[in-house]
């Protein structure tokens, strides 16, 4: 289990690296929604738990657990339907700010998206 988590972390780190490279390299006329970020839901936790993205980024959550989870903004900004195993939910962040969220059926699961 732990091993799997570590692998997940490495994969995400790689994605983030690739994305930040992309972002750094983006041209003036490139669409402002250059960044896309993946948050894995695994073992009843969000990984990475806190992510920082440029404005207009789209964050996608993927449920890797055997049970459903629901992504819900603490401030009520966004809410997914129940995500079964391998289901995805995406939200585009068009305003800077800190967005706390949790799983509305397993509220001990919390995460944060920081939009720059």
């Amino acid at each position: 289990m732990r091993k799997k988590l570590l692998f997940g972390g490495v994969a995400i780190a790689t994605v983030i690296c690739a994305l930040s490279l992309l972002h750094g390299a983006k041209r003036e006329n490139a669409p402002s929604s250059a960044a896309m970020l993946l948050v894995n839901i695994d073992n009843f936790s969000f990984s990475p738990e806190t992510v920082s993205v440029p404005v207009n980024s789209t964050v996608t959550w993927v449920n890797k657990d055997d049970v459903p989870h629901v992504i819900a903004s603490t401030q009520g900004v966004f809410k997914s339907r129940a995500l079964d195993t391998d289901d995805k939910y995406s939200y585009k962040f068009t305003k800077p700010g800190t967005y706390s969220y949790f799983c509305s059926i397993h509220p001990s699961m919390v995460g944060k998206i920081v939009v720059r």
Partner: protein, 334 residues
């Protein structure tokens, strides 16, 4: 896992608590006997008894014959199909067979939630179809899996026609007052299960007219005692609810959610969690997460089961018997 382990059992098998040390007898007595290969029999005497009911007369079996019998089932998770149990239909059917084989037929069945896995109509339909063969009235409270996308509207439409608020209600049977509570909605980030002030207010009013000698049975999905907050196994405002029940001599709290049997006696309150009929979950903290636990296929039915509850009026006692689906009273192993 077939035999229940209980905390704080002294060598005589008796649990005593008198936290208040004020001489008022609000102790709960609980005597547990191993029930060969199928769980444990627990006889609880409410604190209104004035004498220590040590050594109840008769055999363990005799205690189980009550004036009111009912069965608790929980967490059927219809629609779940992962390795921890690819066939939740068969195990729910086995639970029904077990209920139908009970020597004392239950008056009714309590289902403490997570009927479905994904709140889908066909999942509820399947459970209804399977439970129909018990020919019993069934009282439901929702689990978080039953209210996923509509704040419980479909659940209440199906199972909560006469309920209040988000689905709570009470009823009386043979002098016992039953209270079904809902603690799986409006959950707050970082928190546990929640009853909410409107439900708590209703509860206070609901029990206000009852005599202190009335036995109370509370049933709800998430445990009303804090078992393991790191996994959300507890209810934020359960203390408030229990404060309204303090004056009663016998309170039995039946929960599900954690997919394993566990029991605690505190004063006159006995807390008990039931087996799931679908899949087991790890003991608190025994794994990285509380997700479904895969056990060898030939052991699955020994960690799933039902709870049989008997109430003996003149003894003012409730007896709880957990039986796994693997135990001998099971009539069929489809």
């Amino acid at each position: 896992m077939a035999e229940k382990t209980l905390l704080d059992v002294n060598p005589s098998g008796l649990i005593e608590h008198d936290h208040n040390h004020d001489g008022i007898d609000r102790r709960g007595f609980l005597k547990c006997m191993a029930w060969a290969g199928s769980g444990a029999l627990c006889v609880i005497h409410g604190g209104v008894l004035t004498s220590k009911a040590l050594g109840l007369p008769g055999s363990a079996k005799a205690h189980a014959r009550g004036e009111l019998s009912f069965v608790q089932i929980s967490d059927s998770h219809m629609g779940f199909n992962k390795p921890a149990n690819p066939d939740v239909i068969s195990t729910l059917k086995a639970a029904v067979d077990k209920i139908n084989a009970l020597s004392e037929p239950p008056a009714f069945i309590l289902h403490t939630g997570d009927i479905s896995h994904l709140s889908k109509p066909e999942e509820f339909d399947n459970v209804d179809q399977i439970l129909k063969s018990t020919n019993k009235e069934i009282f439901f409270v929702p689990g978080e899996h039953d209210v996923l996308n509509d704040d419980g509207a479909m659940f209440r439409e199906r199972y909560g026609k006469n309920s209040k608020g988000r689905g709570w209600y009470s009823f009386a049977q043979n002098g016992v007052h039953f209270i079904g509570l809902v603690n799986v909605m409006n959950l707050k980030a970082g928190g546990l299960g929640t009853l909410g002030s409107d439900q708590l207010e209703w509860l206070r009013d609901d029990v206000s007219h009852l005599k202190a000698s009335t036995p109370i049975v509370v049933f709800a999905h998430i445990p009303l005692w804090t078992i393991y907050p790191q996994w959300g196994w507890g209810t934020e405002d359960s203390g408030q609810a229990l404060s309204y029940l303090k004056r009663f001599g016998s309170v039995t709290v039946l929960n599900g959610h954690i997919h394993q049997t566990m029991q605690k006696v505190e004063g006159n309150v006995t807390f008990h969690t039931a087996f799931s009929t679908a899949f087991p979950q790890p003991a608190p903290g025994a794994a990285d997460s509380p997700g479904p636990m895969k056990v060898p296929a030939d052991q699955l039915r020994s960690v799933l089961g039902i709870t049989d509850v008997n109430y003996v009026q003149r003894r003012h006692a409730l007896a709880l018997v957990d039986s796994s689906l693997a135990s001998s009273t099971s009539r069929s192993m489809s």
